[in-house]
C-alpha cells in the first residue's frame, strides 16, 4: 500500500525514524508511483530557487484582479454574454481591509467595494449610462453615473451591472 502525502513529505525532509525510512525506501524500490512523487518533490524544490532570482509579475491580490479583468474582457468581447464572476472569491483575496474588486466594463474601470455582504459601492472611472439590477431583475439604479461618484446600494446574492451594451453579473456564492 502506498504512503500518504504527509509521510512521503516527512521522508523527503528526513523527519522519519530509521525504521520508517527503511520502509519507505523498500517501498520506493517497488512502487513507480511513489518514486515519481518523490522525484517530483525533489525536482520542484530544487527549481524553486530559480524563481527566487526572478521577480513575480504581481502581488497575489493584483494577480487575481488581473485575471478577472482579462477573463471579463475576453468573455465580453468574444461571446457578448454577461460574465459571471464569483464575487466571494474575488473579495476573499484582498490585501486591503476594505474589500474591493475592479473590473473592466465597456472599456472603463469599474471599482466595486463591499462594506458588508449586502452593501456595495460602485465607482466609474469615466462616467456613463448605467443600470444595476438585482437577482430578481429589479432595477436598483438606472441613469448616468458621474465619474468618481460612488453609487451605494444594497443587494442580496447576485446583481448585474450594465454599461451601454456590456454586462457583468456578480455572484455571491
Amino acid at each position: 500500500m502506498c504512503f500518504d502525502e504527509n509521510l512521503l513529505a516527512a521522508f523527503i525532509d528526513k523527519a522519519l525514524n530509521s525504521q520508517q525510512e527503511k520502509e519507505v525506501l523498500t517501498h520506493l524500490d517497488q512502487c513507480p508511483l511513489c518514486l515519481e512523487k518523490v522525484f517530483f518533490l525533489k525536482k520542484a524544490l530544487s527549481r524553486e530557487s530559480l524563481f527566487l532570482k526572478e521577480p513575480s509579475k504581481v502581488e497575489s491580490f493584483k494577480k487575481v484582479m488581473l485575471k478577472i479583468q482579462n477573463q471579463g474582457v475576453f468573455l465580453l468581447e468574444k461571446i457578448k454574454k454577461p460574465f459571471a464572476l464569483p464575487l466571494e472569491i474575488a473579495f476573499r483575496n484582498t490585501h486591503e481591509k476594505k474589500k474591493a474588486v475592479q473590473i473592466l466594463l465597456d472599456k472603463q474601470k469599474v471599482l466595486i467595494e463591499s462594506f458588508s455582504p449586502q452593501e456595495f459601492s460602485l465607482t466609474l472611472e469615466k462616467g456613463a449610462e448605467m443600470v444595476v439590477k438585482n437577482k430578481e431583475n429589479r432595477i436598483l439604479f438606472q441613469g448616468f453615473l458621474k465619474e468618481n461618484s460612488p453609487l451605494v446600494f444594497k443587494a442580496v446574492g447576485n446583481f448585474e451591472v450594465t454599461l451601454n451594451q456590456d454586462s457583468i453579473i456578480l455572484e455571491m456564492e
Partner: protein
C-alpha cells in the same frame, strides 16, 4: 491603482515554517486565521504550475490559484504537522495532486487550435525541426547507459522511470539514486539560466564511479554525434 503591476520578488512562503504550522494548527482547532494562511501561501500557489510543470501562462496560473484557494481549507485540515518535516514539502505534494485534477477539469475548455502553416514553413523553423529530429534519432540510437548519462548531464530530461533503469544499469536499488538525486538537481539549478549542465565529477559522485569514466562516456557520445550527424554538440 489596483491594476498596478508590482515587481516583487517571488517568496515561496512569506512566513517561517514553524509559524505557518502554528497558524494551521490554530485553524484546525478553531477555524480561525484562514485569510492570513492563504495570503502567506498565495505566491507559492500562483507560481506552482511554473515551478513544478514549467507552465508560465498567467491565465492558467490564475485559474489554478482560484482552484486551490477554494480547496485550501480541506487541504489544511488534512495536514498532520511533524516537528522536523516542513509544511511546504507536504503542500507541494498536495498541490501536485490538485494540479492534475485541475487540468482534468479544465481540459474540455481547451480548444485545439491548428498550427499555422506559415510558422512551420519558416526556413529557420524548418532547420530547427530538422536539427531536433537528428538529435532525437541520435539519442534513440545510444545504448541505455549513454542515454542515462546524457539525462544526468541535463537533468531537465530526467524522468521517474529512469531511476529503475539506473538501478538496473549500475546494480543499485532505485531508492539509492532517488535519495541522492539532490546533488544533480542542485548543480543544474545553480547553473540555470545558462546551459544547465551537470559536471562529470558530480555525475560520477552520484553514480559511485570515477569522474574520468564519466568523461570518457561523454567523449564517446560526442564522437558518435560527430560521426552520425557531422556536427559538434555540447555534451
Amino acid at each position: 491603482m489596483l491594476f498596478e503591476t508590482l515587481q516583487v520578488k517571488f517568496k515561496p512562503m512569506q512566513v517561517e515554517d514553524k509559524e505557518i504550522k502554528q497558524w494551521i494548527v490554530t485553524f484546525q482547532e478553531t477555524n480561525q486565521g484562514f485569510d492570513k494562511i492563504l495570503e502567506a501561501l498565495a505566491d507559492l500557489i500562483y507560481q506552482f504550475p511554473a515551478i513544478a510543470f514549467e507552465v508560465y501562462h498567467h491565465d492558467i496560473k490564475g485559474d489554478f490559484y482560484l482552484y486551490v484557494s477554494e480547496r485550501l481549507e480541506k487541504i489544511l485540515k488534512s495536514y498532520q504537522p511533524l516537528e522536523k518535516a516542513k509544511f511546504k514539502t507536504f503542500f507541494y505534494l498536495t498541490l501536485r495532486r490538485h494540479y492534475f485534477n485541475f487540468i482534468k477539469a479544465r481540459k474540455p475548455k481547451i480548444e485545439e487550435v491548428p498550427l499555422e502553416e506559415e510558422i512551420l514553413s519558416a526556413p529557420e523553423e524548418k532547420q530547427r525541426v530538422k536539427e531536433l529530429e537528428k538529435i532525437s534519432l541520435l539519442f534513440a540510437s545510444l545504448p541505455p547507459k549513454y542515454q542515462l548519462i546524457l539525462k544526468l548531464r541535463c537533468p531537465d530530461f530526467l524522468a521517474p522511470e529512469d531511476f529503475l533503469a539506473l538501478g538496473k544499469e549500475f546494480n543499485q536499488k532505485p531508492s539509492t539514486f532517488i535519495q541522492n538525486i539532490d546533488v544533480i538537481l542542485e548543480e543544474a539549478a545553480k547553473n540555470h539560466p545558462q546551459l544547465a549542465l551537470v559536471s562529470p565529477r558530480t555525475i560520477a559522485h552520484f553514480l559511485g564511479v570515477k569522474a574520468s569514466l564519466v568523461s570518457k562516456w561523454l567523449f564517446n557520445i560526442k564522437e558518435m554525434a560527430q560521426n552520425q550527424l557531422g556536427a559538434s554538440y555540447v555534451f
